[in-house]
């Protein structure tokens, strides 16, 4: 019994301080959420700088990057945010600074499609881009299901 009274002396000031401070709870999604500048979020590819060398594909531990070459000049780099482990190895491996991790956090999606990001270099005109896009989408439907 004495020990309980004794404990009061040490706990009550702490409780009082906790009452006066703001609660530590972050009210996401009903309130803002902050990400520091180096947060490892969604991967983006700087299309001009990507040469299609495949270093990032080779070093990704989660097989989240895929390289499809149509011919010597045209290639498609596909990024799967759902397989990505957000480790940043691709950013370290790329010698041309073409792939970076932003500090955007990846939202969930109810289907696979919004999660498969097609990245390709700025080569060719609109028509070629449209043609190759539909071609790769079909191939993707087969390979990722």
């Amino acid at each position: 019994m004495i020990e309980h009274l004794h404990a009061l002396i040490y706990m009550l000031p702490e409780l009082w301080h906790a009452l006066l401070k703001r609660p530590i709870t972050v009210r996401y999604p009903f309130g803002p959420m902050e990400f520091p500048p180096h947060f490892r979020g969604r991967v983006i590819v700087v299309e001009d700088a990507c040469r299609g060398c495949g270093l990032c594909v080779r070093d990704c531990p989660a097989s989240a990057l895929e390289l499809k070459r149509e011919d010597k000049d045209t290639f498609h780099l596909i990024y799967h945010p759902d397989r990505c482990a957000y480790c940043g190895q691709c950013e370290v491996s790329c010698r041309f600074g073409a792939i970076k991790l932003t500090n955007e956090h990846v939202q969930a999606a109810p289907q696979r499609a919004p999660l498969e990001v097609l990245v390709k270099p700025e080569k060719g005109d609109e028509a070629e881009r449209a043609k190759t896009k539909s071609g790769v989408d079909e191939a993707e439907g087969g390979s990722t299901s």
Binding site: A7, I9, Y10, P36, F39, P61, C87, Q89
Partner: protein, 360 residues
């Protein structure tokens, strides 16, 4: 008195990770227990043989959530020893900094978990609130709260600028004050001590028989700490004490871990104030010459041993991991014999289990 079998796990409020205990209880006392592991076995050692050395840094970080950096440190050290690389001192200091920050994080988390299992939810809420300071520091430094991805074979990936280092030092001072308050609170809070004293006793002879390592061994009086006995990273240039206690019960382990947190804060301050300048990485070859190496590190729960064998290609031939939780798990049937049923969660919390580490 009738005997009952109480199942603790795989799902149980006292466990953070799945583990199966079958306790044979007579009245209110535990007579016997049997242990079953393997619920979180992911076959990571086999997976590592299918991935290159570069990819394995990230795979092995996911062996455990809390000790993630220590696993990747031990692995990188092993591979660097095989390739005979000389790591720049700045990289070593930054690796050590994150190791110590992780130790602080782990011990604060553990204190909260112990308090919750005793029924003292208030201390759980307070320690986890102050643990956010460390998590924020780690997130700004490395980009992730738990999976840091800071190590590369050959150095580290991120850097700390002068101003950032100063802001980290200020926050660590705040944290030191909070940890001192908690230490004060639990030393004078008699209800906490009444639940943890003389519970879950391990003698020195048992520690040696089961090869127990880490704070559990240090709390029974066995003075073993890899940071001092086999220095790695920047530990040979640092000045710190190894904390031991004599009683060997859960209260001794609480004191050892709390005082270790304060020592870790002291180490972090030394590291940030004496950070050498220089490169962050050296270029590492993709193919590692054939050979085998044993690399050891001091995780928050004890000594973690990595055995790496390479055959000259760019994929390892075998990686074997011995985590500290395996040693403490074997002592649990001994510790639980004769313990009051109400103290079973206290004993389980006292050994700080990390089943993900144990199962790999």
């Amino acid at each position: 008195m009738t005997r009952m079998t109480i199942p603790i796990g795989p799902q149980h409020p006292a466990l953070k990770e799945p583990l199966s205990f079958l306790l044979t209880v007579e009245g209110e006392y535990v007579i016997d227990s049997s242990l079953r592991l393997g619920y979180v076995h992911r076959g990571l050692e086999r997976l590592c043989q299918e991935r290159t050395y570069v990819q394995n840094v990230h795979v092995l970080e996911r062996v455990c959530g809390i000790c993630s950096h220590v696993h990747s440190t031990a692995y990188c050290q092993g591979v660097e020893a095989l390739t005979e690389l000389e790591i720049p001192p700045r990289a070593l200091y930054l690796r050590t900094l994150l190791c110590e920050l992780e130790r602080i994080h782990s011990h604060m988390l553990w204190l909260g978990v112990l308090a919750e299992l005793i029924g003292f939810t208030t201390i759980f809420m307070y320690t986890w609130r102050d643990r956010e300071i460390v998590l924020d520091i780690m997130e700004e430094f490395s980009g992730g709260r738990v999976a840091h991805a800071v190590n590369l074979v050959g150095g580290v990936r991120v850097d700390v600028e002068q101003e950032h280092a100063r802001s980290i030092l200020t926050r660590l001072d705040d944290l030191a004050q909070q940890v001192d308050t908690f230490l004060d609170m639990i030393q004078h809070e008699r209800t906490f001590q009444a639940r943890t004293r003389n519970v879950g006793h391990l003698s020195v002879e048992q520690v040696h028989r089961y090869c127990v390592v880490g704070p559990v061994a240090r709390a029974s009086g066995v003075d073993v700490d890899m940071r001092r006995d086999a220095p790695y990273a920047a530990y040979d240039q640092l000045d710190f004490q190894v904390i031991t206690a004599q009683q060997g019960d859960v209260w001794a382990r609480t004191m050892v871990r709390s005082l270790e947190t304060i020592e870790s804060l002291h180490i972090c301050r030394q590291l940030l104030q004496n950070l050498p300048s220089g490169d962050l990485t050296v270029r590492a070859p993709r193919r590692v010459p054939a050979g085998e190496v044993v690399s050891r590190a001091e995780a928050p729960r004890g000594e973690v041993i990595y055995y790496i064998r390479s055959d000259g290609s760019d994929k390892p031939a075998r990686i074997k991991i011995r985590t500290p939780t395996l040693t403490t798990l074997i002592t649990l049937p001994d510790q639980l014999r004769g313990v009051n049923t109400a103290d079973v969660p206290t004993v389980l919390a006292g050994v700080d289990l990390c089943i993900a580490c144990a199962d790999r």
